[in-house]
């Protein structure tokens, strides 16, 4: 009987104490805790979202990088190929040019040689003529007796020389 006979005093004190506990907890404890929990939950949510976005961006960036690298490689290859082509072309051109130059030089050398030869021939001819005239003079001086036959003879000789 004692066990199920609640005392009025205890009910009174319990109401009072529980009321105070409830009031204090409601006023000073639950609001900051709930606020903090909500804030933290939102914070975590946001952080997770941000991480997701960052992850996506990283993926995109990586993809971009790969593309960039690929492009760069291609460009490099293209440039290399171009360079090689240009080199070949330059070499070819240089070769052709050199050949031409060489031909030209050879040609001009030939021409000059020819020229020189002609000049020399002329010189020789002239000298020969002078010498011949000198010889002829001497011969003439020494042998004035038969100038006519002598002259003829010399001229014949000279003509023969010219044929050479």
């Amino acid at each position: 009987m004692e066990l199920i006979n609640p005392g009025i005093g205890l009910i009174f004190w319990m109401t009072l104490a529980f009321g105070i506990v409830f009031f204090i907890l409601k006023k000073f404890v639950w609001p900051p805790i709930m606020q903090a929990l909500n804030d933290r939950e939102r914070h975590i949510e946001e952080a997770l979202q941000a991480a997701d976005i960052a992850h996506e961006e990283m993926k995109k960036l990586k993809l971009d990088n790969e593309q960039l690298l690929k492009d760069a490689k291609e460009e490099r290859d293209a440039i290399m190929a171009e360079a090689r082509k240009i080199r070949e072309k330059m070499l070819d051109e240089a070769r052709v040019k050199a050949n031409l130059e060489a031909d030209r030089i050879v040609e001009s050398a030939k021409e000059r040689i020819n020229h020189e030869r002609l000049a020399a021939m002329t010189e020789i001819k002239n000298q020969i003529a002078e010498i011949s005239i000198e010889v002829a003079e001497r011969i003439l001086r020494e042998k004035l007796s038969a100038p006519k036959s002598q002259q003829e003879y010399i001229e014949r000789l000279l003509d023969k020389k010219q044929l050479n």
Binding site: M1, E2, L3, I4, N5, P6, G7, I8, G9, L10, I11, F12, W13, M14, T15, A17, F18, I20, V21, F22, I24, L25, K26, F28, V29, W30, P32, I33, M34, Q35, A36, L37, D39, R40, H43
Partner: protein, 379 residues
Amino acid sequence: MAVNKNKKESPLWIFILVLILTVGTMQVFANETQPVAAHEKGNEQEAEEKFNPGEVIIEHLVDAYEWHIAKVGHTHISVPLPVILYDQGQWHFFMSSKFHHGKEAYNGFYISHTGMQKGKIVRKLSDGSEVKPLDLSITKNAFAIFVSSAVIILIFLSIARSYKKTKKHAPKGLQSLVEPLILFIRDEVVKTSIGEKHYRRFLPYLLTVFFFIFLNNVMGLIPIFPFGANLTGNLAVTGVLALCTFLTVSFGGNKNYWAHIFNTPGVPWWLKLPIPLMPIIEIVGMITKPFVLMVRLFANITAGHIIILGFVSLIFVFGQTNAYAGYGMSVLSIALSIFMNFLELLVAFIQAYVFTLLSSIFIGMAVEEHAHEEHHESH
């Protein structure tokens, strides 16, 4: 890190817990072989020798005007508590030590030992009947309520402070002990039973009720002064808690809730007029809900205490026949009480949870909005 640390320390904590629970219980009982049951001076010697487990157990469960801690030899060690009485237009204040452990009367008041008012302060009328004054004494349980309320307020104020400090970071210390419970109550109990829309309004009350019951259940298991009072196993305490839920449901209830009680929809009219059968049934249901809350908590906690006390009593029951039997029994008894104490720790949580869950469900039923009424309700 924190988890690892806790894990490492847990054996120590369990050891300390077991030590407190068993040694504490032993202390309380150590001097019960000569129980207080002996009141008649005549056969005091004989009565003192006899150990009455039923009486001892009940004595530990019920409220008292003083806090009895132990009895050494023939001296009682107890904390006297103030008695506050209002009788015949007059207030009486005095300490319970004036009753000399219930053996003597003071100012005409004495503690009744028999009848309906057993254990309560009464005054004898000239015709021999007992009359109860308005009794607002700070009894053992009232004192225990103050202690546990103070403990709860201090604990939670400090937790609230650490929440303000840690803000968005992980909880620390006590905070991390309480936070899972708060989240559990908020997300699994209150939000699911009341619904996203209204739960915020009732959350402070339900959290307070949960922690109040839970901590009082646990404190009731610590058998060392100033804990160990059988608070949540007292009808007055559970009754007030149930009444709070009842008031919350009644004042929180919306139009639908009251309409459902007084004019139950979907029921033939002759059940409401001329004899309001359905309203009567609904009102009875309204009252039985908190009543069941009150009795469930009371019965569960009291039962747990009775079993633990019963196991410990076994030692002394056996010890009476033979001292060695008592020693032998103590091993088994202590093992069983340790087991029961752990079970009670579980029950302490479960009962607090059940009380909160049922309160939430009742509130949820009272604030429920029917689909076709939705437009009226949303302002």
